[in-house]
Symmetry: C2
């Protein structure tokens, strides 16, 4: 055996008496070598004749092994260029924008988008699961209504009414597997119509609309929230009225009115992303826009910020004319959302454990917000702090600050990635997710941020 | 107040001192009347002038109440046709093909499609959930890999290899929220390309392909399974090789070879729906087609038949070149499948509780199959009984048998609904799901079936 083969680790002594065993052993050795990366993508393998000679197997065995691995997609064979290692199966993280986020997360993570998942109420959730399973009729384990379990829709109806001022009769609610699914279903129901999205806004949500066939229009945001005079030919506009992402602006009352007027006059649809509406610190909670115009607004809520993104539980409250179409899109996407989690959330809401948990989180995040302000001092431009889990901090030079942060092992978001069309002359800023770090590491993350910004006490 | 208003139940004595109170009371009364169905869709309401006179409120109050309910979508107002009750919000069951299936299920249900959900292993699932929550790191509650948890993909990799002969490295597995989602994602990735589907086959799955932009082609099925000489210009073909749905035919070895040859030669994709591959009674299990050509076959499996449809847990094993595209489609559909259920299923597989449960189910369903054959006698054309949860029973007159079944309170499926293009001259049959009824009611369901067929002992 020459170096090539010993490098690859081929060991043909596995089942020396059987031609089959040799072929299988050779296949396995090659497969493992490709998987482990010992054979890099594009590597040209020896011709079968040489392989057979080198390893003391028949040429038929060598050819059979190559053929099998071509069939499996590990190797490619093309006339003239021989047998090569195929492009690698994707690495664990390549498919997601953040991948399995924290597998490669920096130690000090102030990127926005996730709550403190260390605060997931595991014991309460397990209790709710147990009670859901104890009380569920066996028919609950069959296929169900694409709109979700009636128990959860009824619980949400009451909760959204009292907590967010949403007019949400259970028959207008569709339970989704998170916010993204709600946005995807709506985009498909709108069938390619132009969808205006806040600029700046979350790039991933723009991707979701594009990916599901929507045409994007930018809806500029100013100090009063989304500009309602700039909606152009949009059939729908997606907004974050309670706490604009990422600027943190609360939609001004005049703009709220203008938005619902636009919807009524133009027959447009307002899509209200109430991603962190539960977390308001300084004033009375701002009720959902939906309450002003339930026939024109689709309300989208989520358990991702209050409980945890892993649950993939969200909800849509729809104008009557959209319920059937959205339920139909849901049915043909995944039939319905997983049932036991729905029953557990209904339990949690009905027992008021959900409210208690949200209140406790609100206190914790408010304390973190206060610590952030305290640590950075009063002189900094820190925006959007009345609510939510993130703040926008003015900086003159995003790139420079980002580089300093990286050197400190600190990850933060920047405003720059949020524009529809990035370019020079745009305002610059850091988007700081103060909800994200585990509790014990938060002070250290703040220290690093203060150092990077050259500020603090 | 005249009869119209007392019929609607308007009670304006709620808050008689306040104009606001009257408006709110009127709104609520109207809203409730529409919701309850006391005001039917399309009903024309009195003009505001008459409303105001009848109820002793100002015309402004009457108009404000109508406007609000128009805004909420309960009423519609059009110039010339006055104010009318809008089309009703959909009733609870209207959105699903079977709706919340068993809410209106007949007592004796032999329709195919669901396992016996009374056999859901609730205690084992709860134990697995508890262990998953006890051992999950807090980062598991954050957003995750769109392909699913590595714990579950690793467990599935081993399970599918030993139980189904699937070559399934974890990096080629995408966990889905059930089979339907896998089919929907694939269809979108294929971007409108022609997809051949077995004829006869499940109509709902055709709907899923159509709904997600696919172009349908019929792939005729004969006594050896799908006809591989009739795939025409298909870019992909969806097949049920282990136990064709609904004919119950096992794909003949020659056809298996022809199918993978077609895929290799034409660059086509074979989509293997292994919906009940775990349940084979008479012979050695038929391994998955995927093992013969892992580079050409997408393998789709599900926990819907082994555990329960409510869990919405399925998996795809993909050729390398499709992994990124499918993971990307999944990401933009719902980010990823709910995490805790994934971890619980991994627990169940790793502890071999899943295998034990599948074995127990196989014994139970085999017993049911034997009871069916015994009850119907040997002289009937009963097909597809070597595997799965359903049988096809030849009948000369579907409609007549169906009418007799209905009279007995028995629901069964018919072959007629499964053709791409129904028409006269097609073979006729009953599709009998013997897995579906609760255990204690199964004998009674069989009695009814025997009576309807005029057969049995």
């Amino acid at each position: 055996m020459d170096d090539f083969w010993s490098g690859v680790g081929v060991d043909l002594h596995l089942e020396p008496d059987s031609a089959d065993g040799r072929r299988v052993g050779l296949e396995r050795a090659l497969r493992d070598a490709v998987r482990d990366g010992r054979l890099a993508p594009g590597t040209r393998l020896p011709a079968t004749r040489r392989l057979a000679t080198d390893l003391g197997v028949s040429r038929g065995t060598a050819k059979a092994a190559y053929d099998q691995l071509v069939a499996e997609g590990y190797l490619t064979a093309r006339q003239g260029s021989g047998t090569r290692v195929a492009a690698l199966p994707p690495s664990q993280d390549s498919a997601s924008p953040r991948g399995d986020a924290h597998a490669r997360a920096p130690r000090l993570d102030l990127r926005p988008g996730s709550p403190d998942v260390g605060a997931f109420p595991a014991a309460a959730w397990l209790r709710a699961l147990r009670r859901a399973i104890a009380t569920a009729p066996s028919l609950a384990y069959d296929y169900g209504d694409p709109r979700g379990r009636i128990e959860l829709r009824t619980a949400l109806s009451g909760y959204l009414g009292r907590a967010r001022g949403v007019l949400a009769p259970p028959e207008r609610i569709v339970v989704t597997s998170g916010y993204v699914q709600g946005l995807a279903l709506l985009t498909r129901v709108l069938g390619g119509a132009p969808v205006a999205m806040e600029d700046p806004g979350l790039p991933f949500h723009r991707d979701v609309v594009r990916h599901n066939g929507g045409t994007l229009l930018p809806a500029p945001v100013d100090g009063r929230g989304v500009r309602t005079d700039a909606l152009g030919e949009a059939a729908a506009v997606v907004v974050t009225p309670a706490h604009q992402y990422p600027t943190g602006v609360t939609l001004h009352p005049e703009r709220r009115r203008a938005l619902t007027d636009w919807a009524r006059m133009r027959g447009g649809l307002v899509v209200e992303d109430d991603y962190d509406g539960e977390f308001r610190y300084d004033r009375q909670p701002v009720g959902a826009l939906q309450g002003m115009a339930p026939g024109q607004v689709v309300y989208l809520g989520t358990a991702s910020k209050t409980l945890g993104p892993a649950l993939r539980l969200g909800w849509m409250v729809l104008p009557p004319h959209l319920v059937d179409a959205v339920a139909d899109a849901k049915l043909h996407s995944d039939h319905h959302t997983e049932t036991i989690g729905q029953l557990a959330l209904a339990e949690l809401i009905d027992s008021h454990a959900y409210d208690r948990h949200v209140r406790a989180c609100r206190l914790r995040y408010r304390r973190r917000r206060d610590q952030l302000l305290d640590r950075l001092g009063a002189h900094r431009g820190v925006r959007g702090i009345a609510a939510g889990l993130h703040a926008l901090i003015d900086v003159p030079d995003e790139a420079g600050v980002l580089a300093r942060a990286e050197a400190e092992g600190l990850a933060v978001g920047t405003l720059g990635t949020h524009w529809h069309a990035p370019g020079p002359g745009r305002p610059q800023g850091l988007v700081v997710g103060y909800g994200t770090p585990r509790e014990r590491i938060y002070p250290e993350a703040l220290d690093a941020l203060a150092k990077v910004l050259g500020t603090g006490r």
